[in-house]
Symmetry: C2
Subunit: 174 residues, 2 copies
């Protein structure tokens, strides 16, 4: 059975959407995902607000109630019939996120065993055939095949296999 | 550079020692590691106390102040000069342990970057050349070479490369 490792933020969970909501609310702005083509949120926010921007990610509740990416639950469940599915999420930059990320996965993907959750930093440690991730840097030393999940910051990335949403993941693997 | 993944409990941290101390204190017993040859602690404790025994591991502070295994800090630091070192710890059974395990690693192994910490369950997800672990079951599907770190419960395990302590790890790799 081939193994697929799946990233959380921007792939299963809409962390960027929540980040924008909190930033707009506190600063009276109206940033949308459309403003972020090829950029990270911190790139379009003035430098004096970067600390505040990162602070949202460090708060204990940030990862608790993130919206689930459309169709991801149905497609991941279908994938478990044909592949070994692991969740590989970069959590070490935000240790406060461990508990909320774990609970979020249990709540929204209850059919995945916790033994298949991996909280890590450098994803070259992941032993899998495929890694679905929005950050191409994780593919550099990954031993399998990287599948780039489209997010605003990566739309200009070329020369990598890309999927735009979970329906495309379904087409690719099922 | 070859990569070595290192388990935490019973390899870097003396979790069993702390477990025995808490159990003896609360039950007026005098169990020692010597009583545990070839056995887990729950195997020599009466069934009506198993829940209590597991409860210790679920408490938030259990993993906070565990003693460091002798010579492990010095040898791991030396290993970082010649190998890529990752810490791979089974944490998903005890989600309350995430924070304390992270702080323990930062406190006692400050020279390791958090990006090289991996909190996981099924260690077949680890991509490394070697895995130093006290639980032989983790070697079954591991793609590299397993090195069994001696602990009371595994003394009868045969046909696997074994080290008894960190001085033997030093001899093997340096």
């Amino acid at each position: 059975m081939k193994r697929i490792a799946i990233d959380m933020d921007e792939v299963l969970a809409d962390a960027l959407g929540e980040h924008i909501i909190r930033y707009n609310r506190d600063h009276g702005e109206a940033i949308t995902k459309g403003d972020l083509e090829g950029k990270w949120l911190w790139e379009i926010v003035s430098a004096d607000r970067h600390e505040r921007l990162e602070g949202y990610l460090r708060s204990e509740d940030f990862f608790e109630d993130l919206p689930v990416m459309p169709e991801s639950q149905r497609v991941v469940k279908a994938l478990t019939q044909r592949y070994e599915i692991f969740i590989a999420t970069g959590a070490m930059e935000f240790p406060n996120s461990f508990g909320s990320k774990f609970r979020w996965l249990r709540r929204h993907f209850p059919f995945l065993p916790p033994s298949h959750f991996v909280f890590c930093g450098d994803k070259s440690i992941i032993h899998a055939d495929y890694l679905i991730d929005d950050q191409p840097l994780h593919f550099r030393r990954f031993s399998g095949t990287g599948i780039l999940f489209t997010a605003p910051h990566n739309v200009q990335v070329r020369s990598v296999r890309r999927v735009d949403d979970w329906l495309e993941v379904e087409c690719l693997f099922l």
